[in-house]
């Protein structure tokens, strides 16, 4: 059977979003693969130039379904820097709380997708069952399960009352037990390990060449984390470790992401315990003085980069967004070289693609 090209095309069970992947096969071995983006390109950067800063908050949140809060956090944080606004401490803490809750939600969702792709349906169902706890918390606090519209320029618009705190306490304990159970099952289950061990290896040297960020880089040994290296919001007041692995294959990435989920739960409990009181937001003027700002934040998939240039009007002159998925997409053709066709599904799920982020 000489080489045939298998289209893992825009619509395919492997991909949750449209991305065209042409994999040419030599028997069962993959010879090379080409990648085509742009099926979900909505021109967010152009749209943002024709909306006011307040309306942009809701536009920016609709870039990606899973990491919507981190996008609006980076955006509001950069506009606040332009306006030289001082966000009250309680607002920053609530903003960080939802960032971490979204990290848990994103990693558990990713674990479900990975185990569905390698045919492990029970773990897929368990991961998404535990994710429901986080979604319920977010719905109670912000009103929305996924895009929660909590950030406004100048702080946060929901406040955490007694009822939320008790719900948070109870759910986080329950979540810790369940996530530790998932971690043990990933580390020990023989069939999970058979399908993910040394597949899609990325050496530290490749990571540096392609400027890869996030869990994929940390799984190959690159120790970067924006929350610790350049702390934004109030991360410098919280203590947490950044897990690090060196194997660099899909198995190491899975372990690393679940370790990060446990760290995120620890962070959430810390945030709840020393939640300062006071106002949650400050009113922001509508016109932004001229200037430019560069801001970065740690999304579940890595470093999110924002550049905004304002020209003393109500609408941004230029808004540049660079999402972490672009850096992992570049490494995909390299990872897939002479790989089994059956492993393509594990690799594609291993890098945790969020194509809506990548296409903007």
């Amino acid at each position: 059977m000489n080489n045939i090209t298998v289209p893992i095309g825009p619509q395919h069970p492997l991909l949750k979003e449209p991305l065209s992947f042409l994999v040419s096969l030599e028997g069962e071995k993959v010879t090379d693969s080409t990648l085509r983006l742009g099926y979900v390109h909505r021109g967010i950067e152009k749209l943002a130039e024709r909306r006011t800063y307040i309306q942009n908050v809701y536009l920016i949140e609709r870039i990606c379904g899973i990491c919507s809060h981190i996008h609006s956090t980076t955006y509001c944080q950069s506009v606040e820097a332009l306006l030289k606004l001082k966000v009250p401490k309680r607002g920053l803490y609530i903003r960080m709380l939802l960032c971490e809750l979204e990290r848990i939600h994103s990693h558990l969702l990713w674990l479900g997708v990975l185990s569905k792709n390698i045919g492990f349906n029970t773990l897929f169902m368990y991961a998404w069952r535990d994710r429901e706890i986080v979604l319920n918390i977010m719905e109670e606090i912000s009103g929305g399960r996924v895009s929660h519209s909590v950030n406004i320029i100048g702080g946060v618009r929901v406040d955490i009352n007694e009822k939320h705190l008790s719900l948070l306490q109870k759910s986080l304990q329950e979540l810790t037990i369940r996530v530790e159970e998932i971690l043990r099952s990933i580390e020990n289950d023989r069939s999970f390990r058979a399908r993910t061990r040394n597949i899609g290896n990325l050496s530290l040297e490749d990571i540096k060449r392609f400027c890869v960020v996030g869990p994929v880089a940390r799984a190959s040994g690159l120790d970067i984390d924006i929350r610790r290296d350049a702390p934004y919001a109030a991360y410098d007041e919280l203590d947490f470790e950044v897990p690090l692995m060196t194997e660099g294959d899909v198995w190491a990435r899975s372990i690393l992401r679940i370790l990060e989920t446990i760290q995120a739960i620890r962070l959430c409990t810390q945030i709840i315990h020393n939640l300062p009181d006071g106002p949650v937001s400050v009113t922001a003027p509508r016109r932004v003085p001229a200037g430019e700002v560069v801001s970065r934040a740690e999304a579940p998939r890595g470093e999110v980069f924002y550049y905004i240039r304002s020209d003393d009007s109500q609408k941004p002159a230029r808004l540049k967004i660079r999402t972490p998925t672009l850096t992992t997409l570049i490494t995909l053709p390299g990872q897939l070289k002479n790989m089994q066709l059956a492993d393509v599904s594990a690799v594609i799920a291993g890098v945790d693609l969020c194509i809506a982020c990548g296409d903007r």
Partner: protein, 129 residues
């Protein structure tokens, strides 16, 4: 010894989990029969207290989805329309309104086949008394 048990168990690791799941209540609900109760802070459909509304248009200006439109005839005589199909339930109008007349409650927005059903007139103060 624990290492050895773990090695054996790794062949059928999830067996204890599935037996436990088998005898416990399922997590999912049979959706059409059992309906899901939205939380209070859930932002559903836009409601208005027509008395407070003075037709200033702050909400129309800030709405990101252009779901509100104001037909202003003269100072006190205007009509505020709401296109429910464009509305993203973000709640910005509630925050921008200074006379707290527009607000969101947590009721579901029913679907409908015809787009025209989504158009509703919120405030109609066009006819002079």
């Amino acid at each position: 010894m624990n290492k050895f048990i773990l090695k054996i168990r790794s062949f059928f690791y999830l067996l204890p989990n599935i037996t436990e799941a088998l005898f416990s209540k399922p997590e999912t609900i049979a959706y059409p029969a059992v309906s899901h109760r939205p939380s209070e802070s859930y932002r559903g459909s836009v409601r208005i207290i027509a008395v407070n509304c003075v037709g200033c248009g702050l909400c129309v200006r800030d709405c990101p989805a252009a779901a509100l439109s104001l037909e202003k005839v003269s100072k006190g005589c205007f009509r505020l329309d709401h296109y429910r199909d464009r509305c993203a339930s973000c709640g910005q109008c509630e925050m921008s309104c200074k006379f707290n007349s527009i607000y969101l409650d947590n009721s579901y927005k029913e679907a409908s086949a015809d787009r025209v059903d989504f158009f509703e007139v919120l405030v109609d103060k066009t006819k002079k008394k």
